[in-house]
Symmetry: C2
Subunit: 295 residues, 2 copies
């Protein structure tokens, strides 16, 4: 994997589905390229926003191949490689390393609850050892609202100590800024992203790397402007506008709402589809947000 | 899939690993055959106890093939086919149906939390439609302690109404006997298993189907005796002894403790291995339970 930095605004790319409910590689690659054009510094396909856990193993691998073959630079890619299964996590991680991706975003194995830090450490260690690729860079994906289990400060430290050249960063989707701040403070040089743009300015002021946030799918230019101008006098005002926009979007179920916005932008209603267990959002429910965003 | 009943004592088969951490088909098939010899009426490989979510897609498929090729009757098999991914869930379910298994045990798609009954309904419905095999029988796997989301009474009713010949039963691992009792009462003719033998007698008296329980890996004969003799005067005493044994075993982490008991019984320390995120149990910790069980 490349040494280039992803710092800034990383989009967890939405996954489109065709009329048969299959992942649509054409729409996916076009959307990814559009996000880079919009100013994203990186792309994190196969995250929570991308309905990654709803995709099959083969589907995930084919979509990553499609991105690279479609011309998206691997140095800009941070694919989610998480799986409850060590075996499948290794397959996904190895593929990303072989493509020369900037890194992988790694969920903890999220089925069993109440597991020990030792158990999660062994899982990550085994991924590193089995992949056995010096190019590998791992960004820990801490998202207790979905995974329930997560990466404690102690565990992050232990993983960094064991694999300093490999375990290089974290996305904090805990929704708890105090936790993000504690990680940034505890581990200088670690690449720590906020999981929401609501704390983008705070993250940058504290020495963090930026954000990996769902709304980058529809709001990348504004986020990039704040990243580029966070030291300016306008920064607080920019953050306030960004936060207001976020609150508007998240007043509805996030993933279906984002797909409505992309459908509107592209004029392509095919973007509205989601996979079970998610349910699409009725047009009338989405319209109130679309109207407010346009205002 | 076959019409034969699994009623009684079903073992969620433990999964052994070899010295390289790979699933060990030889030990697995031998253990499955031993469990049927011990009196199990059915086997549920690839459940929580079997570390199924820690296995790769190919590993799960190869192990099911190995069981059938190893001579375990498909009519006795209720493999777990759950996955967060609709695509992979369909692959696993189709394989089980094609083997003529008695049914599949189906976790809800457990990554996203707070999903609607409608979303889970669509997931199961899509599995039924995509597999499209009249032999398919689905047993819903309700285990909120791990999956967090689950099958509500209303959702069970809706799935039964939509697919009366396919959605035929449930394993209730909620740990809440009142919930199990409510399912049995609400749905006469539904095959409702308790997820623990602690409520085996209560389950049978209420009209349930028996239990699918981790400890059947090491205690099948006693459980079968209660199933065969639940109408006898000795039943309450048998239940009390079974419950005491359960409480002893679950005083330690369940899966590693069960593997110690199997290792002792078979004289094969290879049985002690677990996959991350689980961690094996130290011999000294297991010994206190082993000694008490022997007493």
């Amino acid at each position: 994997m490349n040494e280039s930095t992803l710092n800034g605004v990383v989009a967890p790319v939405l996954t489109p589905f065709d009329e048969h409910g299959q992942p649509d590689a054409g729409r996916f690659v076009a959307h990814a390229q559009r996000l880079l054009d919009d100013g994203c510094t990186g792309l994190a396909p196969f995250g929570t926003t991308g309905e990654a856990t709803s995709l099959g193993m083969e589907e995930r691998r084919e979509l990553l191949d499609a991105l690279v073959e479609g011309g998206v630079a691997p140095a800009r890619l941070l694919p989610g490689a998480g799986s409850c299964s060590l075996t499948d996590c290794v397959l996904l991680t190895r593929q990303a390393a072989q493509h020369g991706c900037a890194g992988v975003l790694l969920l903890p194995p999220f089925y069993y609850k109440g597991v020990s830090d030792e158990g999660i450490f062994r899982f990550v260690a085994e991924v590193v050892e089995r992949v056995g690729d010096a190019r590998l860079r791992i960004y820990l994906y801490h998202i207790p609202p979905q995974a329930v289990i997560g990466y404690s400060i102690e565990l992050i430290g232990r993983l960094r100590d064991a694999y300093p050249d490999t375990v290089v960063g974290l996305k904090d989707s805990s929704g708890d800024w105090q936790n993000t701040a504690a990680v940034i403070e505890a581990f200088p040089g670690f690449t720590t992203f906020s999981g929401s743009e609501v704390s983008l300015l705070a993250n940058l002021r504290a020495g963090g790397a930026g954000c990996i946030t769902a709304t980058a799918n529809v709001n990348a230019a504004s986020l990039r402007a704040l990243f580029d101008g966070w030291r300016s006098d306008a920064a607080d005002g920019m953050q306030a506008a960004i936060t207001a926009r976020r609150e508007l979007i998240q007043s509805k179920p996030m993933i279906p709402m984002l797909k409505h916005i992309v459908a509107q932008r592209t004029g392509d209603p095919g973007w509205l589809r989601v996979r079970p267990p998610l349910v699409e959002l009725a047009a009338a429910d989405a319209q109130t947000v679309l109207t407010s965003l346009a205002a």
